[in-house]
């Protein structure tokens, strides 16, 4: 066995200072090291667009490297280091992520560790941006507003992704989760450089932050890390609210959009009413796998393979918010037929019609999926950060053990909690309403 090569790869909490917690995941398997800094905020309609915009402005320059060109020259000199930042959402939290990946010292012919420089660069991006007259450079702000508006408007280019996000957004239109993590073009439009700068200053000093470093740190790296993070000027760290998960549905809602498309996209949004902290969450994972988690699943086998109704079909969970979505690509005229057949699959699980093949292939597939995460530094970090967000503090092995304990009866038991909330159909301008 080669477990010795991996035995050190667990998450180690190094220290916590001023609302910033620092973790290390040791690993020798990879050619690169990474530094990830995450800020979390409540998803809120008044701040979502501001939070999306400020990282785009920060990436334009630091006090030492004031232009995009300077930053890229620096990255190239460091053997093509990679720097990126952006926003995402996990449940009702908006996540702001800064990322740096650089070649391990071993391959970079480095005389001294590149870690110090890498950390300094990333902290400069966040805390010492290029400024003009004591605020953000208005030119940078205007350009990034334009880019962000473009990104928001281009969402519809990817119809598969868009049709599912749109379903969730319509479904949760009165909850924070219904907000798109980049805000709206209208919200971006009215942001001023001064307002953005003030907002940014407050957020990076008060939002809870987590730093994940992958790769090996020596003693001098550790000392530098402690001093450097400890010297960040921070205010009082903001407490965040916990999102709402449980919601009773008394009526299914139907929505439709028309676009110039040749294939229809049918999405069904569900409330699972189960949080990752509850014991039956693992049964829910298995449930979702049996229903639509791959080629062995009921949706794939029955709706795609047997009935030939869908080009693609799958189910997936949004674990933080307790939601499940079924996404599919179908012919316009098959909408009702497809929806009925999809609902029959849910009904079959409720009635206990789960074959040994469906059950065991699901468990195996979940195992493969979880083990596979471990071969990507970014996914290892995301997994561990997600545990913090959902306050579950699980390890890969812990989750695997819990999944293996799930029985068919546990799966049948969760079906009672799952409710269809919203049906969304993306159709063409020409398709006849049926």
């Amino acid at each position: 066995m080669t477990d010795t090569a991996r035995s050190q790869e667990n998450l180690n909490k190094l220290f916590e200072v001023n609302g910033i917690t620092v973790y290390n995941i040791k690993s020798r398997r990879f050619k690169t090291n990474t530094i990830n800094i995450f800020f979390q905020d409540n998803l809120n309609k008044n701040t979502v667009a501001l939070n999306a915009l400020f990282p785009s402005v920060l990436r334009r320059g630091t006090h030492k490297l004031p232009t995009l060109k300077d930053i890229n020259l620096y990255l190239e000199e460091l053997y093509g280091a990679v720097f990126d930042c952006g926003v995402g959402k996990k449940g009702e939290r908006q996540i702001i992520h800064f990322y740096f990946e650089y070649l391990s010292d071993k391959y970079a012919n480095a005389e001294k560790s590149n870690f110090e420089g890498a950390l300094e660069f990333l902290l400069d991006i966040i805390y010492r941006p290029a400024l003009k007259d004591g605020s953000f450079n208005p030119q940078y702000v205007e350009q990034e507003k334009t880019n962000l508006k473009m990104l928001i408007e281009s969402r519809t280019n990817d119809k598969v992704q868009y049709s599912m996000e749109r379903c969730y957004e319509l479904m949760c239109r009165e909850e924070p989760f219904g907000l798109y993590e980049y805000g709206t073009a209208g919200q971006i439009e009215v942001i001023t450089a001064e307002e953005l700068y003030k907002h940014y200053k407050e957020k990076v000093t008060t939002l809870p932050a987590d730093i994940f470093i992958t790769g090996e740190l020596d003693e001098s790296d550790m000392e530098y890390l402690k001093n450097r993070v400890g010297s960040i000027d921070r205010g009082v760290t903001k407490g965040l609210t916990t999102g709402i998960v449980k919601k009773y549905i008394d009526k299914v809602e139907y929505f439709e959009d028309k676009m110039d498309v040749t294939q229809g996209k049918l999405s069904l949004g569900f409330r699972t009413n189960i949080t990752p902290k509850e014991d039956d969450y693992y049964a829910l994972m298995v449930y979702s796998g049996i229903l639509g988690g791959g080629m062995h699943s009921k949706l794939f086998q029955n709706v795609r393979e047997k009935a030939g109704l869908a080009y693609y079909i799958f189910a997936g969970l949004e674990k933080f918010k307790g939601l499940m979505i079924i996404g599919s690509g179908i012919e316009f005229k098959e909408k009702d037929h497809a929806k009925d057949l999809i609902m029959e699959q849910l009904e079959a699980i409720r009635a206990g019609k789960i074959s040994d093949y469906e059950f065991e292939a699901t468990i195996k597939s979940l195992e493969t999926g979880i083990h596979s995460l471990k071969d990507s530094q970014l996914q290892v970090v995301d997994f561990n950060f997600s545990q913090l967000v959902s306050q579950t503090h699980d390890t890969f092995e812990g989750i695997l053990a819990k999944i293996r304990r799930v029985t068919k009866q546990d799966v049948i038991n969760v079906t009672g909690k799952i409710q269809l909330d919203t049906v969304y159909f993306l159709t063409s301008q020409e398709a006849e309403a049926v």
Binding site: T32, Q139, M150, E305, G308, E360, T368
Partner: protein
């Protein structure tokens, strides 16, 4: 069991190559400590291979567009049901894709490697195609073709290829068209299978923490040697170096226009490592001119003419080569004109050696970074293999790359008379009314 070992100690990488009596090579690239074991079984057969002389025949065979991709779909059906189900029972993730020049079958697993590998070797070697299933597949692939038709990124790419090529099949959608696949029959599928799925036209790769000798023994046991067919003669139309069109535009509902521009390149008749040397040179030149640290990128970004979606690539195969640069832009023409101006300026002023040095270093670092992922290693490896190169040949090419060669390639590739532009944009307001 005899096999060849190639070590790259400086980079902690090694590659083992075993040659089966059929002529098939099996490559193992170990990744110690990795959880995923990734295997591929690939044939040197893609969407451009639609006219060829079957070994032993005297006349060429012409087959419908999209047939390589169609065959890929059909191989997943076996006499005793779908092979997908058997992989699923093992918890693994089989997949396949067809490109212009290859068809690749693959899986990734974290457990039961032997069983998964056995399945892969067997199903690719045992087609079971019925007339009824061919007809059914036409419906499924028709849906796939429609899906690509709605994808503006796919359209802008193929429209550029259409601008480059008058006749070469690289300009056609990999899946073919609804009309072309209508002509596919069971017999033609078998004919293509017999021609291109002979082990001597194929390669196997395994990347991950595996026992190489076990892998080679499994290959030895499971590959049907068969008699060698001899060489397949692939026929591509005489294309010439001129563009088909300099500009192609399509209206689709996109909020911001998408564009790709690039150069049709006639210098594809290269052999072995010369291919990747040329490829690397073109990619470095693109970075020198319009990469993220260039003056031009900064200028275009500041003017709002490009954004971070801007990307570039260079493709070289044995019957064509081209570059592609693009992304979203409110004014693709202006981006093209700026690049043309930059090329003319560099022809006058010369390229800068220090820019070359820095970008070479960055490129090598990013090459090593891709060794982190078993999928990336496998993908890059297969892509090069049928050109007679291995992934690790890059290490040598990086060491030998030099400024004089770059200057030479600059004059060869960036010929403004062979530059085309493809744009996908929304309808103008006037057109709508």
């Amino acid at each position: 069991m005899r096999y060849e070992t190639l070590e790259f100690k400086k980079y902690d990488e090694v590659m083992y190559r075993y040659e089966h009596s059929s002529g098939l090579n099996c490559i193992v690239i170990p990744k110690k400590g990795y959880y995923k074991k990734h295997a591929t079984f690939s044939t040197h057969y893609g969407s451009v291979d639609n006219k060829f002389i079957i070994p032993g025949d005297s006349e060429p065979t012409k087959v419908p567009d999209g047939i390589a991709h169609f065959l890929e779909h059909k191989l997943f059906e076996q006499k005793d049901g779908s092979v997908m189900d058997k992989f699923a029972a093992l918890g693994s993730r089989p997949n396949a894709f067809t490109s212009f020049t290859q068809t690749v079958y693959l899986f990734s697993c974290t457990d039961l490697f032997k069983e998964n590998f056995e399945l892969l070797l067997n199903f690719v070697q045992n087609p079971y195609i019925t007339e009824e299933s061919v007809e059914r597949e036409k419906g499924i692939i028709g849906q796939e073709i429609n899906m690509y038709r709605d994808d503006p990124g796919w359209r802008v790419t193929f429209n550029l290829l259409d601008a480059f090529y008058k006749k070469h099949p690289v300009k056609k959608d990999i899946a073919g068209s609804i009309e072309s696949i209508a002509n596919i029959t069971r017999d033609t599928l078998y004919k293509c299978y017999e021609t291109f799925y002979h082990p001597s036209n194929m390669v196997i790769t395994v990347v991950g923490d595996v026992d190489r000798e076990e892998v080679f023994e499994q290959v030895e046991r499971n590959i049907e040697a068969g008699e060698s067919h001899g060489e397949i003669k692939r026929i591509y139309p005489e294309e010439g170096n001129e563009l088909h069109k300099a500009y192609v535009e399509q209206n689709m509902p996109v909020p911001t226009p998408l564009f790709y521009m690039g150069f049709k390149d006639g210098n594809y008749k290269l052999e072995g490592p010369e291919i990747i040397k040329y490829e690397l040179a073109v990619k470095l030149l693109i970075s020198m001119m319009i990469g993220r640290s260039s003056e031009l990128y900064g200028e275009l970004y500041d003017k709002g003419l490009i954004n971070s979606s801007f990307e570039s690539d260079f493709t070289i195969e044995n019957s064509y080569a081209y570059s592609m640069l693009g992304g979203e832009s409110v004014n693709p023409r202006a981006v093209q004109e700026s690049l043309v101006r930059e090329i003319k300026k560099l022809r006058n002023d010369g390229l800068k050696p220090e820019t070359f040095d820095r970008l070479l270093k960055a490129s090598k670092g990013r090459f090593l970074r891709q060794m982190n992922s078993v999928e990336s290693i496998a993908r890059s490896f297969i892509n090069l293999y049928f050109k007679g190169v291995t992934l690790f040949d890059y290490l040598d090419v990086y060491d030998k790359m030099n400024f004089d060669y770059i200057t030479e390639v600059f004059d060869k590739h960036f010929d403004i008379d062979r530059m085309a532009l493809s744009v996908v944009k929304g309808m103008d307001k006037q057109q709508l009314s």
